[in-house]
Amino acid sequence: MSSLQANTGIKSRERKRLLIGLLFISPWIFGFLVFQLYPIIMSLYYSFTEYNLFNAPEWVGLSNYMEMTKDAKMYQSLYNTIFITIFGFFPQLIYALGIALLLNQSVKGLSIYRTIYFLPTLVPAVASSLLWMWLLNAQYGLINQALGAIGLPEPNWLLDANWTKPSLIFMGFWGTGTTTIMYLAALQEVPKMYYEAASIDGASRWRKFWHITLPAISPMTFFLIIMGLIGSFQYFSQGYVFADSSGQAIGGPSNSILFYAIYLFQNAFVFLKMGYASAMAWLLFVVVLILTLVVFRSSGKWVFYGGDK
């Protein structure tokens, strides 16, 4: 048998493997082409057009993007979104880590506690938003009644523009169970011998946390920040329900809970400004990409991947 034949034999086997492989993953390829690539291209195209669904898209060049730079509501929605990312997402991340650290003290009844902290995340966003609107009801809500009982002021949570975002942030703390569970899983992977060695050296609890625990779970923190930032910039359901269900226009009092994704949705499906909404989607995409890139870039300094376990 000549080497040429053997060669073509290998090649044809390789080709066959490629074919079978592609056949198996073909549902994903189909999904990618139809549900991602095609929409991405069309969305980019729409962003340069005026399009109201009923007439064909009309090319308007960069005018949607120019309009965005002058759109006060767009800036407001961006501000609101950054606000809940900084004062909601990051504090909630730290809080989830705190609870996970407590759960990791190998306390008795771990599974009961874990269930308690996890249950709220199972409640559908709409149901939990409605429940919190009831808890935060200015007159009859449990929270104001409790605040009043100890002599604290009773804010009009849902109707006072200063309190709507804090309301959503409080509710967010209730739903941090998923993050807690993920941190707990990461904490349980930290090798015990690190702590034992540190104890022998007389390290304090705080030093152990700072020099062993935090670096060891940094890959999880990294993952949670990336996914959390992406999610936070798409914050939608809770803000939408809060405004809609308290009898207000989209965006709530003084547009205080008009988040970026909500304003985008409003442009697309209420005002039927599909072109403008597409341009907003692309700005969102670029912002998310840049943020992700920044976190990736910085990760060399603070994310540590342990070698062997």
């Binding site: 990618f32 549900f35 929409p39 506690y113 808890l135 009982a149 209730w174 993920m182 939608f236 499906f269």
Partner: protein, 277 residues
């Protein structure tokens, strides 16, 4: 010394119990509200316990709005979503796990990176597409998005992790015996993957059940509404029917909580591996 270690052991419990009570209080308030009469719901100062258990709120919850219809719609969308996902995802995962074809790893990383794509970018063209296909107000935009949309990457990732844990000898020996890839997949690998399929099925169900933005976009006709967009009907211009609304929210949530208690381990595993919910 003894006292200190006792304190050390109790302190985490105290904090966990305190926060735990704060986490449970909204649930308690929700449930207690649903059994109160209108007068007891709107009373100052608050009254924690109803003087007698009243079921009216539940009766009103299912009769004031087409609750049964919405539940049916929600269940059908969720079940169709699950049915497709548990067929499609393991196929793709097998390709990425067991067939060593050229460019596989690059494609796999690429697939995972699509998870970063905000849904707002694809939302409008997909709406236009489903509109042109005449599928608005039907189950299909939501179901097909569950099958083929961005979520497929999560499910494939999850099952691939599982497949990678199945010993290679098992599939290699079948291959040497001349079994076709599809035969190996369907008769050896797939039956072993039941736990992983259960996990992704569960999460798919949960996501479809709770989804708000999808139904809001695609379902305009009230007959096609799901529970998550139907609940707003308890909210009227000037008044909110809090009793029935809380009862409906409870009915909407209970199936998921029950599922959690039946398959708690699957939930925790799934979250620990992929961070999805």
């Amino acid at each position: 010394m003894d006292q200190r270690s006792l304190g050390k052991r109790i302190a985490p419990h105290l904090i966990l119990i305190l926060f735990g009570l704060m986490f449970l209080a909204p649930f308690a308030w929700l449930l207690l509200t649903t059994f109160k009469s209108e007068e007891e719901i709107f009373v100052i100062p608050v009254q924690w316990f109803p003087s007698e258990l009243i079921w009216d709120n539940y009766l009103n919850a299912v009769s004031m709005i087409p609750f049964v219809q919405y539940t049916m719609n929600t269940v059908i969308i969720a079940l169709l979503s699950v049915a497709g996902v548990v067929v499609i995802s393991p196929l793709v995962a097998y390709g990425f796990s067991r067939i060593d074809f050229k460019g596989r790893n690059v494609l796999f990383i690429f697939m995972l990176s699509t998870l970063m794509l905000p849904m707002q970018v694809t939302m409008i063209p997909l709406y236009v597409m489903f509109n042109n296909l005449g599928m608005l107000d039907s189950y299909w935009p939501l179901v097909l998005s569950a099958w083929f949309g961005t979520g497929i990457a999560y499910n494939v990732f999850m099952i691939r992790q599982f497949f990678n844990g199945i010993p290679y000898e098992l599939t290699e020996s079948a291959r040497i015996d001349g079994a076709s890839e599809f035969r190996i997949y369907s008769q050896i690998v797939l039956p072993l993957a039941k736990p992983a399929l259960l996990t992704i099925g569960l999460f798919t169900f949960l996501n479809a059940w709770s989804d708000f933005q999808g139904p809001l976009i695609y379902l305009n006709n009230q007959d096609s509404w799901t529970l998550s967009i139907g609940l707003k009907q308890f909210i009227r211009e000037n008044s909110v029917a809090w009793g029935p609304l809380m009862a409906a929210a409870t009915l909407f949530t209970v199936p998921i909580i029950l599922m959690y208690f039946f398959v708690q381990k699957k939930f925790i595993e799934g979250i620990s591996i992929t961070g999805m919910k």
